[in-house]
């Protein structure tokens, strides 16, 4: 960008008090004017700097402990000056992250080159045309050696639409002393009923997420999937034709488990507002018994020990196992979460963005992220890394859990489905297996038809 017709203050007649030749004040004004022109010219030149030089890719990230920033730095260095990656932070919770990205992408914001996406929202983004199509060669490279749940979570309409990054799953965390005293053999799969009985016998807490938020849908989905069903049995092009599985045998069984846990008397007084952090806090307390939760609870407890707020004997007593079963004969399907990378459809540098995404999701970077930020990898190879195993002794169970994990319903209308579930299944203590699944089905179907508010 050039600046033309910039006024030359020095050539203008000075309007001094004498009205003749430029005096002191006139000269001062001239100097100030020249300086202003210089600043203006340099500012405008800076504005136009984008046309030359390497492009800057903006990566919209979910907040973390600094791991994504470090990976962005590493990949900028690896790009050898071809491009630089800058991060831009999204809100803390995933529905808010989605809201901001949807608004920007609907306005065709070209500044979104890469984005960290929560898997349940990927179908909506793909369907709306917000994600740049993944080239076949990139798709085959980024899905090689990746856990199945992460590939499923990045797929819509039979195509890989996002790049698997890190894959999360919930484990059953237990206090070894409590399980032992209750006579539970934790080397074998356990059921929710067994957990309730054990917690009752020892008067210890069972931690799950009863709050009206996305966590509740995560829990219900895991229960239904573990019982052998699905929240949506059939996704069709028209949302009003969806077939739901909430009233199926598996759906009713899931509702029974949710109600039984909430009414067990061992879930803490504020169960209906209990989120992942609340469960972790309860589990760290002297009343801790069992909880289903993401792996962050492990580094969280170790940090608390380092900070002197938790006794070392507490994490020493932590045990971990696969997610509890609904029925003894059916393997559990733990929750799947994590983050996958989407490439903005309106980005001006999609080639570089895909290149950067491959760098970000390299085994080395995933191992770093797992080790330092506690976010498990989607690449299977990372689970054999000795450095990771040292920090996360439960890594083999996490990998096993990821292989068995089931994603939440994959539909562009996930927000409606999740919102309907949250409305009808909350508070969990009031869930009636006879009526709640039907009410939720009716509500979600009516909302998808456009006949009801949510």
């Amino acid at each position: 960008m050039t600046v033309s017709h910039a006024p030359s203050p020095g050539n203008r007649p000075g309007r001094t008090s004498t009205g003749s030749a430029p005096g002191r004040s006139g000269r001062r004004r001239a100097r100030v004017g020249a300086l202003a022109s210089l600043v203006l010219a340099s500012t405008l030149a800076a504005c136009g700097g984008g046309s030359g030089g390497p492009p800057t890719l903006t990566w919209y990230i979910n907040p973390d402990s600094g791991g994504q920033q470090e990976i962005a730095n590493r990949c900028t260095a690896a790009a050898n000056g071809q491009y630089t990656i800058e991060i831009s932070q999204l809100p803390r919770d995933s529905p808010s992250q989605r809201e901001q990205l949807v608004r920007r992408l609907a306005a065709e914001d070209s500044s979104i080159d890469l984005m960290s996406l929560d898997p349940p929202y990927i179908p909506e983004f793909a369907q709306a045309g917000f994600l740049a199509p993944v080239p076949p060669d990139v798709a085959s490279r980024v899905s090689d050696g990746v856990v199945e749940s992460a590939i499923q979570g990045s797929t819509w309409d039979g195509k890989l639409v996002a790049i698997p990054f890190w894959a999360n799953t919930q484990l059953l965390w237990y206090r070894k002393s409590v399980a032992e005293a209750a006579g539970l053999d934790m080397s074998q799969p356990v059921t929710w009923d067994q957990l309730i009985k054990a917690a009752k016998s020892q008067h210890k807490l069972i931690g799950a997420q009863g709050i009206r938020s996305e966590s509740l849908t995560v829990w219900l989905n895991a229960l239904i999937e573990s019982a052998g069903g699905h929240i949506i049995e059939k996704v069709t092009p028209k949302p009003e034709d969806y077939q739901f599985g909430l009233t199926s045998e598996a759906g009713v069984r899931a509702a029974e488990v949710m109600r039984d846990v909430a009414n067990s008397g061992e879930v803490g007084a504020a169960f209906s507002t209990s989120n992942e952090d609340t469960s972790a806090t309860g589990f760290e307390s002297a009343d801790g018994g069992f909880q289903v939760n993401w792996p962050f609870v492990w580094p969280r407890a170790l940090s608390a020990v380092d900070a002197g707020t938790l006794d070392k004997s507490v994490p020493d007593d932590y045990g971990w196992a696969l997610y509890p079963r609904v029925d003894a004969d059916t393997p559990s399907k733990p929750p799947y979460g994590g983050i996958n990378l989407g490439i903005g459809a309106f980005s001006e540098h999609t080639d570089f963005a895909f290149e950067a995404a491959e760098c970000i999701t390299s085994d080395e970077n995933q191992a770093y992220y797992f080790e330092t930020n506690g976010n498990p990898a989607s690449s299977k190879a990372v689970y054999d890394d000795p450095a990771v195993l040292k920090v996360f002794p439960q890594a083999p169970v996490i990998r096993e859990s990821l292989d068995a994990a089931a994603p939440r319903p994959q539909t562009p209308y996930y927000s409606e489905v999740s919102g309907g579930i949250q409305r009808e299944y909350h508070p969990p203590a009031d869930v009636d297996p006879k009526s709640t699944p039907q009410q939720a089905t009716d509500l979600i179907a009516a909302v998808l038809r456009g006949d009801q508010l949510l």
Binding site: T273, H426, G450, L453
Partner: protein, 319 residues
């Protein structure tokens, strides 16, 4: 004792009122007035009328932000969906409940605080006024978070402080039920906005002529008689402005609900409903229709108050 108020001001034509024919000078002044006020008027139209018109327009469509291709004109069907949905009426009921409770309590408390401020020593008055105003200066989200943390079962101190009261124990889950959640929401609102109402009432109180009070005193009126027959009738306009502003404000309540309950346990308000349809569900058509209904409710409240109080604000300004 009959009600004592200032005699109504006779509306007389100003001396300088133009005759039927407008003089050239008046015409020029009017023109200048329009030229001066015109830009501001245009900006006002742009920032207020345009979004309202756009919301009304969008409310006639089935329009999902992530599916713009399938946008279709549906007429007034969005309004039909909303007005026949129990969720709307429940949210409306909760909003009215919060509005009535908070405004009523704030009015009483606001009066009490206004009296304290009015009667306080002249040297103490500025300090007292500043102290009372502090809650109003706090950002709503911040105050909502503070109240949430105070009543939270894990981090809160309220349960521990008030466990001696019947119905409260260390395990009381305030945000676990509708009534208890709304109690905290109302308390937070009352704490935050009572200063506003009290300041408006203080201004009204200052306008009540002292001569009327003295006359009533001489007539042997008690404090309550003076309050009901002299003070309140003479500050009717101030009361109306205070109650109207607070009612409109309370009716649009969003932040406290968003922070404290996120709408759980049937604590949703109309604003929250609009937020959910528009922002979470990205159903622009349905969300716009909810917003338009909220706007209409606010307009009806404003007209209702102005008619109900039978106040001519122009007269109150002395025009």
């Amino acid at each position: 004792m009959s009600q004592t108020t200032l005699p109504p001001v006779e509306k007389t034509q100003p001396v300088s009122a133009p005759s039927r024919r407008i003089s050239d000078r008046s015409r020029a002044e009017r023109k200048l007035g329009w030229m001066l006020a015109g830009p501001a008027f245009l900006v006002m139209l742009l920032v207020t009328a345009y979004p309202i018109v756009q919301a009304v327009y969008y409310s006639l469509f089935n329009y999902r932000l992530t599916d713009p291709e399938n946008r279709s004109f549906t007429g007034l069907s969005n309004y039909g969906v909303i007005l026949t949905d129990s969720l709307w009426w429940q949210a409306f009921g909760v909003t009215v409940l919060i509005t009535v409770i908070t405004v009523a309590v704030e009015l009483v408390l606001g009066f009490a605080l206004a009296f304290v401020m009015a009667k306080a020593l002249r040297s103490l008055r500025p300090t007292l006024r500043a102290a009372i105003l502090i809650p109003y200066a706090v950002i709503t989200v911040v105050s909502s978070l503070a109240w949430k943390f105070a009543f939270d079962i894990d981090t809160g101190f309220v349960n521990h402080w008030f466990a001696w009261l019947p119905g409260i124990s260390v395990d009381t889950d305030w945000f676990g039920g509708q009534a208890s959640s709304l109690t905290v929401v109302c308390l937070a609102e009352i704490w935050k906005t009572t200063p506003f109402i009290s300041l408006l009432l203080l201004a009204g109180l200052a306008q009540v002529p002292e001569v009327l009070q003295e006359a009533a005193k001489v007539d042997g009126a008690t404090f309550w008689q003076r309050l009901w027959k002299v003070t309140i009738p003479n500050m009717k306009a101030a009361i109306m402005v205070a109650v109207l502003f607070r009612t409109l404000d309370a009716f649009r309540i969003f932040d406290s609900i968003f922070v404290m309950t996120a709408g759980a346990n049937n604590t949703e308000t109309v604003s929250f409903l609009a937020y959910r349809q528009t922002i979470t569900r990205v159903e622009i058509g349905l969300g716009s229709a909810v917003s338009v209904l909220l706007f209409l409710s606010v307009v009806i409240i404003a007209f209702g108050f102005i008619k109900g109080f039978k106040i001519d604000l122009a007269q109150a300004r002395g025009e």
